[in-house]
């Protein structure tokens, strides 16, 4: 009977897969397009993102497809470059914590004992610190720029990965196939690399994608507080912040970069959710 129920779940999952692909595939395509635009911004953008003119705060027109901002800069070009800035920021902002957290979590989970206890304690302590608040002080202290953002995001983000990986490593460590590999003569590091890490990494990779969305929000919020990118750098959050006072008279200036943040976030979440449901499905199906 339990098999029958498992069968039911399997089929209902495949049922969901029938519906989901359309949404997550669209999302994936959007993300790829965004990446292409970001990479090719210097060739695609009609204007330099910093070129100013006295054509200020103009609504969309033939000359400026998305209008101009308060310094007369072309919003379309700035958005293209902003995507570039944001992607270049959020990938390491989510990636660095992943690397740090995965290494720490793997070591803690596999070694256990004192190391594990220490890592858990540090994670608990970090959990108890008002890190977002620190982040404000830290970025203010170190000055705006990618370095501060990365330090801040890493200090914040590694815990989740460390916890995730640690739990996963500990779970897999006691799985029959890992114990069997050890008995069959593999050394601990070999077992770690061959059997434990691939499974743990799949989890983190999934979370990484979801984390990109959080990083995007984080960068936008910090920019909103004037703690993100340097002023003048085209960045979506900063563009929203810069334009917010025009929201009544020149809505497009706020709406465009704002919508870009939301769309990007929704797409990232859609792809991330899909990946995580697939990862879950695989571990269930074992």
């Amino acid at each position: 009977m339990s098999q029958a129920v498992a069968g039911v779940h399997a089929s209902s999952r495949s049922g969901r897969r029938m519906a989901l692909p359309r949404f997550h595939q669209v999302a994936a395509v959007v993300l790829v397009l965004v990446a292409v635009v970001a990479i090719a911004a210097p060739w695609l953008a009609p204007y330099s993102p910093s070129a100013q003119s006295l054509d200020q705060i103009r609504p969309p027109s033939g000359a400026h497809a998305l209008g101009t901002d308060a310094l007369g800069r072309d919003i379309l070009s700035r958005m293209m470059y902003a995507l570039r800035t944001d992607l270049l920021l959020i990938v390491p902002a989510a990636g660095l914590p992943m690397v740090v957290g995965t290494v720490v979590g793997t070591l803690a989970g596999y070694a256990g004992g004192v190391l594990d206890a220490a890592v858990r304690w540090i994670a608990d302590v970090f959990q108890g610190l008002p890190l977002y608040i620190f982040l404000v002080a830290l970025v203010a202290a170190m000055g705006r720029g990618p370095a501060s953002l990365l330090v801040a995001f890493t200090a914040l983000g590694w815990i989740v990965y460390a916890r995730l990986v640690r739990t996963e490593v500990r779970r897999i460590k006691t799985a029959g196939f890992v114990e069997a590999a050890y008995l069959l003569g593999r050394s601990s590091p070999q077992v770690l690399v061959q059997h434990v890490l691939p499974h743990a990494l799949k989890q983190t990779a999934t979370y990484f994608v979801l984390d990109l969305g959080m990083a995007l929000q984080g960068v936008a919020v910090l920019s909103f507080f004037n703690l993100g990118v340097k002023s003048g750098t085209p960045e979506l959050g900063a563009m929203v912040a810069d334009a917010q006072i025009f929201i009544r008279s020149s809505t497009w200036m706020v709406a465009l970069p704002g919508a870009a943040i939301v769309v990007l976030g929704v797409c990232i979440a859609a792809v991330g959710d899909h990946l995580s449901s697939r990862t879950r499905g695989e571990s269930d199906g074992r």
Partner: protein, 511 residues
Amino acid sequence: MRRSPRLVATALVLAVAAATALAGCGSDGGAATADSAQKPRRGGEVTVLRSADIDAWDPDKALMIETFETLPQVMEGLVRPNPEGTDVLPGLADRWEIDAAAKTITFHLREGAAFSDGSPVTASDVAFSVGLWRKNVAYGTLYSAITGTRTPDDRTVVITMSRPSTFTLSWLANGTAVVVPKDFDGKTRADFFKNPIGAGAFEIKRYVPGQSLTLARNPHYYDPKRPYLDRLTYKVVTDPNQQLLQFQSKQAQMIESVPLDLARQFSATERHVVEPTATVHAAFVNTASGPGRDLHFREAVSHAIDRDTYVKSVFGDIASPAKGGLPTGVQGSATCGCSYDFDLAKAKQELAESSYDGSPVVVLVDSSSQITTRGGEVLVEMLKAAGIKADLQPEEGQVMFDRYSKGDYDLELAEVSSVSPSVGDIFGLVSYMVQASDKDKVITTAFDKLDVAATDTARTEATTTAEDWIGSNLPYVPIANPGRVYAVAATVRGLAVTPYLSYPADRLWTR
């Protein structure tokens, strides 16, 4: 704009953050006349939004323009500036005599002047206060000409000076020169300034630091008609957008020194424009090290700046392109014959002649000021067009100031403002700042001459010397004389703001 609380340097300082924090206003004649046609009404209250709180009740601990604007409302000085900023008007003293030969100023205190606790203002109170100003750490130098006081009677104070300084009277109209009770009414200085009393039009009703300050009518004020308002509340709202929202939803009736971007969101009737203010918006050059040591480079920078475009982009036309190194519209100011022209070809030529090696120059701006960060973005583009690579580095006020003192910059975008009717005050600051390049002491000499100048001709001569020297040596590259915008609801009348950004709140009234 981005909200970020700003450390605001006073007008006395390199007023880097001046953009949003400085209050300014000149009653331009038209509005004033229209208002005076109607009779001020007594009663009512007004809520004023400002982006920063006062930073102290003790003027010597203050840096913020808000402080110097607010202190005299509670602790009135001997004199106050006239709305045009060209002269001083009676305050607690209703008249005074200057004796250049004797190097004295004799003040006659007003009949009925009293502190808000009812005790009368006497000559000994004033003498005590003058002593206070002179001793002050931060601003004592402003009163360095004063050697002492004499009090022939209860209503007369004679200030004696080491030289016939004309600046001194101007300084007395400034927010640092507040009159307090003798010996702080028996309290310590710190205790007194925790909840000070004065002889101003208002007394402190409720003060929540960082949030709001409510002033109520001083029942013992010497003018029985004023203040017109029963109550005046300053609310600290750092976010420009919130300022706009609260103003538009009628939660507040005034905004001090509206960010210029925001200014476009108010209707013409709600905009009170002060232009130009006694402020110079300039690019200060590190003349001690780096490319800025070379005059050719400084010339190149100056010629690279298209001041008309800059004014349009950064100030939205609420400014005038700089025609001199000193602010316009203050006592004794004179434009120089020199020109600050935009000439790209000349800029490139000067650059070619300079020792500039093509590496990026560091442009420091105050990240908390919308005007300077935006100005920085514009400046960098203009420099680029002339062939100067620039690296824009926004810093919080204090860090910026630290880097400035250490010479860790090439160019710095900043504003300096006058806070008194005398051009001398900004002049003094300029001389302080350009010491390094002023080897022949041209500026300091001119400053000293101006201080004792008795006639307008003498004043003009002194300022012209300074202007010429600034024009040809470019210790800083003047860009604009910016203006300020106040938002005022149609119901509020009587606003008159001086070019150095203060307004007598006792003259405000509501319809």
